[in-house]
């Protein structure tokens, strides 16, 4: 019995080099249902003693597995044409692996942060659950004033809220670092807004803050202009218009030439040729004071933008809800 096994093993060695017709013969002679040598051998097993049956049985089974696998592989090799003159159909598809993609918001946030890194900004994050003090008071926002109405807030108990903007990190950064400060702060923010194609109660915001001695409105404009031209195109027109946010003064709204129509007017830009992409301005002296910095000595600028909105413009995504669905067909487009 043991000898027979050894014979079979050497016969099996031939498989690796057999041509197609020889392989077919070997397959029948070894594994054939009726007269296959290995099949016959396995049939003999029950006649053996208990001890022999255990050891030889295991070996025979293992050999059968190996022979089957070898024949399978050889068949595959023979079936695949190769070498000179072989009819290889090179137009058949290559073998792929899955490719994962980053979320479009991540892509946009990373790109924005990288551009500001060129201007010396580091990247930090902060808590999503905030206190009224950081979300409002330190930013010169009075809940007594109608300006607070723009930020309909979710409360989670004990005066704690879900931050309505990433701006509380302005205060946190100023309180724990000495100027020069240059940071960008991406993160999720919350507002009591109903879902619609362009609004979500939860969305991404990206804050920027620069504080030093002698930073001016010119520095502010230059930084934003640099960013817009790096992110969009070098010839994108940037427009600054006065606006109001309690924590900046002068306050501004930054508009860029519409990416859809290049300024000629379309439905995306409501025929204006421009799209609003951020609120910004010079840090209000009151904010410096409330965050423990000398408002006479230091000046600075701050800005905030919505990466979802920017992603929607860049990738022409029509509905903000797509960002939250986890649809493979959507996410797979950003590889």
């Amino acid at each position: 019995m043991r000898d027979k096994l050894n014979d079979l093993a050497s016969a099996a060695a031939e498989i690796a080099t057999a041509d197609a017709s020889r392989l077919a013969e070997l397959k029948v002679s070894l594994l054939g249902r009726k007269a296959g040598k290995l099949t016959e051998l396995l049939r003999e097993l029950p006649t053996l003693s208990h001890e022999e049956r255990r050891t030889l049985g295991a070996q025979a089974n293992e050999l059968k597995k190996k022979i089957e696998a070898d024949i399978d592989e050889r068949e595959r090799t023979l079936a695949t044409p190769s070498g000179a003159g072989a009819d290889v159909d090179g137009s058949m598809p290559g073998r792929q692996a899955w490719r994962g993609a980053l979320h479009p918001v991540t892509l946009v946030v990373d790109e924005i942060c990288e551009i500001f890194r060129e201007l010396g900004f580091s990247r930090v994050t902060g808590p999503e659950a905030e206190t009224e003090e950081y979300n409002f008071t330190k930013l010169n926002i009075s809940l007594d004033h109608p300006a607070a109405d723009a930020q309909d807030t979710f409360y989670v108990g004990q005066g704690t809220l879900l931050r309505t903007h990433t701006s509380p990190m302005q205060a946190r950064v100023m309180e724990t670092n000495k100027p020069p400060i240059r940071v960008v702060v991406p993160g999720q923010v919350y507002r009591r807004d109903a879902f619609d194609p362009s609004h979500s109660p939860v969305f991404e915001q990206l804050e920027g803050l620069a504080v030093d001695e002698g930073l001016s409105f010119v520095d502010f404009k230059a930084a934003i202009d640099y960013f817009v031209k790096r992110f969009f195109t070098r010839d994108t027109v940037v427009r600054f218009e006065p606006s109001f946010f309690p924590f900046v003064e002068p306050g501004a709204q930054v508009q860029v030439q519409c990416v859809m129509c290049r300024g000629s007017g379309c439905s995306t830009c409501k025929q204006s040729g421009f799209l609003e992409i951020m609120g910004a301005g010079m840090v209000h002296p009151e904010v410096f004071t409330r965050c423990g910095l000398d408002a006479e000595r230091y000046t600075g600028y701050a800005f905030g933008m919505g990466p979802q909105r920017i992603a929607m413009l860049r990738y022409r995504i029509p509905d903000i809800r797509l960002f939250f669905e986890g649809d493979m067909r959507f996410l797979g487009q950003f590889t």
Binding site: R53, T55, G57, A58, Q59, N61, M92, R95, A97, W98, R99, G100, A101, L102, H103, T106, L119, G120, S122, V124, T125, A129, D144, P146, A147, F154, Y155, V156, G159, L162, N177, P180, I181, P201, V202, A210, D212, G214, L215, S216, F217, V218, D219, K221, Y226, V238, F240, E241, P242, S243, F244, E249, P250, Q253, P285, E325, G326, M328, R329, F334
Partner: protein, 784 residues
């Protein structure tokens, strides 16, 4: 805020282009939301002269008119009683489409062919009919476009007004900005038919009287100033066309001449007014005081209000007649029988009004303006203009007026250092320019000790400090007129958040393995007793913050199944929240979660049949690799059918295994993991010298007793095999009765760093390993 271009134009005494005005206002800080040319649907209507009017041969009530439309004379049948030969009317030719969609055709009316139509105001969408067709008082020649002949062609411009600029909530404030931009004077045109001799109201301290009506402020905190005028002999009725047209142009609905006049002043001067029916005021008196316990008032909207003691009320001698600054009461409302009016023109404290309207859940045009702060200084001028308008449109005479002003305040002065302007703006703005800019919008400027003393007008309550003036300078100079110039800067002292590095590493790992990054919605139903509840959720389904990422990932999985996507590979990095341990803020933890289901690789023609499906072993490896990058230093241990991650202290900080989901029959099983992302020390990679000696491999097939785990076996191998054992890895598992249960095969790789190992040396180590395994785990070699 809706603006009428004609209204603005009348104050600047020049024509305006809507598009240009929009640009100027945007540059001034009030961007245009919408712009609409009004009454464009009347473009085909023309002015026509009725030359002759005859009776219709077959109908008594109809006339047969010879109508000159500028090019010819046609016959038109008209049913209006007021049609008169020699007068001009709006005329719609055959083919014209009127507002509402009626297209005119020539048709026979009682046997006579009528060519077009003479139109009434109602037919043109210009309000209600008075006497029939609309008689035109115009010099325009027949054939002139109706829109060109009448002041109807207007543009409605809707601007967005920020909360700091209440002055832009009135046409005058907007016109002031335009006047500054165009360099033209601003002047309010007088109303046709208005009295020219209206006197300024008489000042009083805490109480005064207007024509015998006592006016008293008891709550000077809530109402620092209250002016009232008494007008007797008015006739309540419809407003004149021009007034109605103005109101319609900005989207307001004309009501009657008294209400329309007060609304007009509201939208022109940003001064809310209220007209009381004097006959219905007990006393007669006006007392401004806090609400008393038990008082009620039915406001104009028919709602019964129960004011609290923090609310300022306008009362007569006994009861409240209006909620100050928010809404009047029905008990003193002007009706068609009213003949005598008390006109209120007051300033209410912004925070008080904000609190009141929030408590009453009622916002009105008036409260909106009071809570932003109206012009305290210009109230007398506003009252005078209101009286002029009221008398012009409703008749009557002013019999007295009073200005109760307990503690008059002056316009504040703010100092501006001109060098601070250059410091903050980065550009030296000449002093002359600074002065010119500030004066152009109403500031009074006087130099004082290297500074400018700037007097702030009442309509700019937002300007309280130097920086506000610097903003004005920048704004009026034009933001676009500052250079864009990158100047030297110092690098940030703030270090990068180390968490970003970890997140990047995780993202690279998992996208490399074919998973897409997703972001799920962090609000949902209660995920655990530890979940943080929102006090004011938008809906019960979104009332809690998530405690785990997996519910969101499972939702995404099911979404994909619902759209027939079978192969799903997703991961998410996101914050989860738990109730605070101590302190107020919830505990926030950065989490990583993943889910995979379906084919492990894309199908390929060389592999026939179904591709291999993801199983628990895929997710175990992903879990271990992710944990190595992002987890706390710890270990992955078996946990039921899956695994858990324990940190050094034994705390569980992650899990992996099969997921429960609402799975259609055709979908594959889903597996996932989730772990706390731990931002630890940065891992420092130190190069290991490449081996100069060859490895020696040995395979060991072991039969394991039930309960013995592979990691136990490997622990023995490593311990006993050290230092020569380099790696050991299970590569086969075989279960059969014949081998007596479960057999696992390991490949062991041995190597010595300094020499080539001899077989005997390796055999000795293997023997020792086998002996120890037998001894400690009762594992024996599989016989062969």
């Amino acid at each position: 805020m809706n603006l009428s271009l004609n209204w603005l134009s009348s104050m600047l005494n020049r024509s305006l282009d809507a598009r240009e005005v929009g640009d100027l206002l945007a540059r001034a800080g009030a961007p245009v939301e919408a712009e609409e040319a009004l009454h464009q649907d009347l473009g085909d209507v023309i002015v026509a002269l009725v030359e002759k009017v005859d009776k219709h041969p077959n109908a008594d009530r109809l006339s047969l008119c010879q109508v000159n439309d500028g090019s010819s004379v046609v016959e038109v049948v008209c049913g209006a009683p007021n049609v008169t030969a020699g007068k001009k009317y709006p005329y719609a030719r055959v083919g014209t489409t009127l507002p509402g969609g009626l297209k005119l055709e020539s048709r026979k009316i009682r046997g006579v062919l009528s060519n077009g139509m003479l139109c009434s105001a109602k037919e043109l969408g210009l309000g209600v009919d008075h006497d029939g067709i609309l008689e035109l008082n115009t010099d325009a020649a027949p054939g002139t476009r109706f829109l060109d002949a009448m002041p109807l062609a207007d543009h409605r411009i809707t601007i967005e007004v920020t909360a700091n600029r209440p002055d832009l909530l009135g046409h005058k404030g907007v016109a002031r900005e335009l006047a500054a931009a165009y360099g033209v004077p601003l002047r309010l045109p007088p109303f046709p038919g208005a009295p020219t001799d209206v006197r300024e109201a008489t000042r009083a301290k805490g109480a005064g009287a207007a024509d015998g009506v006592e006016v008293r402020i008891e709550d000077a905190e809530g109402c620092p100033r209250y002016l009232a005028a008494v007008i007797r002999g008015v006739k309540v009725g419809p407003s004149p066309d021009w007034l109605q047209a103005r109101l319609r142009a900005i989207g307001a609905r004309p009501i009657n001449n008294v209400v329309d006049a007060t609304n007009y002043i509201l939208f022109e001067l940003n001064q809310p007014l209220h007209a009381f029916d004097l006959a219905r005021l007990k006393g007669p008196a006006i007392v401004v005081r806090r609400a008393k316990p038990g008082e009620r008032i039915t406001t104009l909207d028919g709602v019964v209000r129960v004011p609290d003691g923090e609310m300022t009320m306008i009362c007569d001698a006994t009861t409240p007649v209006a909620v100050a600054g928010v809404m009047g009461g029905q008990n003193s409302e002007v009706s068609s029988d009213t003949t005598d009016i008390l006109l209120e023109c007051a300033y209410f404290e912004p925070r008080r009004i904000r609190r009141t309207r929030k408590a009453l859940k009622t916002s009105t045009e008036a409260s909106y303006r009071f809570e932003r702060g109206i012009d305290l200084q210009s109230a007398p001028a506003a009252l005078r203009r209101a009286v002029e308008l009221l008398v012009a449109v409703a008749g009557g005479t002013v019999t007295g007026s009073v200005d109760v002003y307990p503690s008059p305040v002056h316009e504040p002065t703010v100092f501006l250092r001109t060098d601070r302007v250059a410091h903050l703006l980065g550009v030296a703005v000449p002093v002359g320019d600074i002065e010119r800019h500030l004066v152009s919008v109403g500031f009074a400027v006087a130099p004082k000790d290297h500074r400018l003393a700037v007097q702030v007008p009442g309509w700019r309550p937002d300007v309280t400090g130097e920086v506000d003036l610097i903003e004005e300078v920048a704004r009026l100079r034009g933001y676009d007129n500052f250079p864009v110039e990158i100047r030297a800067f110092r690098p940030s002292t703030v270090p990068d958040d180390p968490g970003e590095r970890v997140k990047d590493a995780v993202r690279r790992l998992l996208t490399g393995r074919g998973l897409h990054e997703t972001r799920s919605f962090p609000l949902g139903a209660q995920g655990s007793p530890e979940a943080v509840e929102l006090e004011n959720p938008m809906s019960a389904e979104e009332a809690y913050l998530r405690t785990d990422l997996s519910p969101g990932l499972v939702r995404a999985l099911e979404h994909n199944w619902a759209v027939r996507e079978r192969d799903v590979r997703l991961f998410e990095l996101g914050i989860v929240f738990r109730k605070p341990n101590a302190g107020k803020r919830p505990v926030e933890t950065l989490r990583l979660g993943a889910v995979v289901s379906g084919a492990r690789t894309p199908s390929h023609w060389t592999v026939s049949g179904k591709a291999l499906q993801y199983d628990r072993w895929d997710v175990k490896a992903l879990f271990e690799e992710a944990a190595a990058l992002a987890g706390a230093f710890g270990r992955v241990v078996e946990d039921g059918d899956g695994w858990k991650l324990e940190d050094a202290s034994g705390r569980v900080c992650g899990w992996a295994g099969e997921l429960t989901a609402d799975r259609p029959a055709w979908a594959a099983s889903a597996f996932g993991f989730e772990l706390d992302v731990h931002v630890g020390q940065r891992r420092v990679v130190v190069f290991a010298p490449l081996p100069g000696t060859p490895p020696v491999e040995r395979d060991l097939a072991l039969v394991l007793k039930p309960g013995v785990r592979a990691d136990q076996v490997e622990a023995v191998m490593r311990r006993v095999g050290a230092p020569l054992l380099e790696t050991c890895r299970a590569f086969d598992e075989y279960r059969s009765e014949q081998v007596g249960g479960r057999s696992v095969a390991w490949r062991l790789v041995f190597r010595a760093g300094d020499r080539t190992l001899r077989d005997e040396e390796v055999d000795a180590v293997v023997k020792k390993i086998v002996g120890t395994l037998k001894e400690e785990l009762d594992a024996r070699l599989r016989e062969s």
